[in-house]
Amino acid sequence: MKEIIHNVYIIEREGKEILVTKSKYGSHYGERKIGEFREWIPSRSKLAAMILKGHVIDIKPDWKVLYLGAASGTTVSHLADIVDEGIIYAVEYSAKPFVKFLQLAEERRNIIPLLEDASTPWKYNGIVEKVDFVYQDIAQKNQIEIFFANIDMFLKDGGEGVIMVKARSIDSTAEPEVVFDRVVKELGEKLEVVAHGSLEPFHKDHIYVHVRKTK
């Protein structure tokens, strides 16, 4: 058993290595509870997939996080285990999945739910503070533009960002590789690209891009 990020462990279970977060809370999306741990399922959460692909970001327990595309809170539930002294501002524009998300927000102390459109960040610009980490997972055509707008408004200098990109939501006809090259280049024009890579086999035709605000 080893801790790779605060409250994130890889443990052995029935001869297999699995990713878990240490959690005081119960199961949120049907994941197994193993003692004090919750299984973090990579096919359900792109952040888990990224970590299992070997890219580890040292998320600190007191980080302030802006999370765009929170849906019903699969990934947020684990992130909330990690930043147990921090705060997650979670933005989602669709009401339906947010019903379940609200249960999570009621249970945890460190989640601020916001039913807003991430493409209009000025609307929550009097609520969200300056953050250490912006995470975005919205399958939208203009997702890069949205990512930039939120980073401009909320990310501290030197802060980290991760965007999960699905090739087909940006361009449904071009080859994924071509789309990814374009995306990485576009991000690199304004931000430092720390790393990027595929999320296969957990998520088909998806990549993560890890950036830093140094420019």
Partner: protein, 292 residues
């Protein structure tokens, strides 16, 4: 300078930032919008009016949950109605634009004047309105029915919703019904013919027939594609209604089925049509007793 923040206002006086707490936090939370990045960090300034950071976050969280729950409830009630009404308005708008253009052409054949130019400009305005409505429909349907939209595209997804009447009703329709949704007229006609003892084909596909995955297949394969797509759409509608979250594997399976059908070697024609005829006969046999 003055900024609207969730707990009230922050004003700059003599180069100093001063926080003012609102007496109605729900109201100030809803209005906490600023066009430019704030030149200060919120909780720091907030400490002027809150006892501690703990107090700050506890209050913020409480208000956020309250406002968001109310918003969620409101939205759930009305978004599918909104799409349906927009769609109906769009149909009327289309009719109007066509009708007006026809009239304008008639007049222009006789004489072009300032009045006809004005007329044309108004029609262009209506066309701009039409594009805005189409965009709005697309945005909202993608949001409230991500799975239907991923499989069928925004236009067909919105039409299915309109034909069903609500997302709830669509979620409870069987696949066989979804497959012919939008083809009710021809279905009723066919049934009426049958009742009169005349031969008639029941329609195989309704609105989903305009989907490129069906349209671009050879005729013989369309029925199978439509059936498969309708089955996936039935699942998608349930997912959208109950969970509202995208499951990418659904649309992926439809894409695969399409590729599979497209590549599928053509069976020798005779054999296939024989087989199809046999199937048709069996269907009719089964149906007959019902009609007697």
């Amino acid at each position: 300078m003055k900024w609207n923040v969730w707990f009230g206002e922050v004003v700059e006086e003599d180069g100093k930032l001063i926080a003012k707490k609102s007496s109605d936090l729900v109201e100030s939370f809803k209005n906490a919008s600023n066009p430019e990045a704030l030149p200060f960090n919120l909780p720091e300034v907030g400490l002027q009016v809150f006892e501690s950071l703990e107090d700050y976050y506890r209050t913020l969280r409480k208000i956020a949950i309250k406002v968001t729950s109310e918003k969620v409830e409101k939205e759930l009630k009305r978004e599918d109605r909104y799409v349906i009404l927009l769609l109906k308005a769009l149909d009327k708008l289309n009719e109007s634009i066509n009708m007006l253009e026809e009239k304008l052409r008639d007049i222009e054949e006789v004489k072009i004047s300032e009045t006809t130019e004005d007329f044309r400009e108004r029609i262009e305005e209506l066309k701009r309105l039409r594009r805005r409505i189409e965009k709005e429909i697309e945005d909202v349907i993608t949001k409230i029915a991500p799975n239907l939209t991923e499989i069928a595209g925004a236009v067909i997804a919105a039409r299915l919703l309109e034909k069903a009447g609500s997302l709830e009703r669509l979620a409870f329709l069987p696949a066989s019904k979804i497959q012919i949704l939008g083809a009710e007229k021809s279905l009723y006609k066919a049934l009426a013919r049958m009742r009169r003892g005349k031969p008639a084909k029941t329609p195989k596909h309704g609105i989903i027939f305009i989907h490129p995955f069906i349209r671009t297949l050879p005729k013989r394969k369309r029925g199978r594609m439509a059936r498969f797509m309708a089955a996936k759409l039935a699942i998608a509608a349930k997912l959208d209604y109950f969970k509202g979250e995208l499951d990418e594997s659904l649309a992926e399976s439809v894409r695969k089925k399409y590729e599979e059908l497209r590549r599928e070697k053509d069976k020798p024609k005779k054999e296939e049509s024989k087989q199809e005829r046999r199937e048709e006969k069996q269907k009719k046999k089964k149906k007959k007793p019902k009609h007697r």
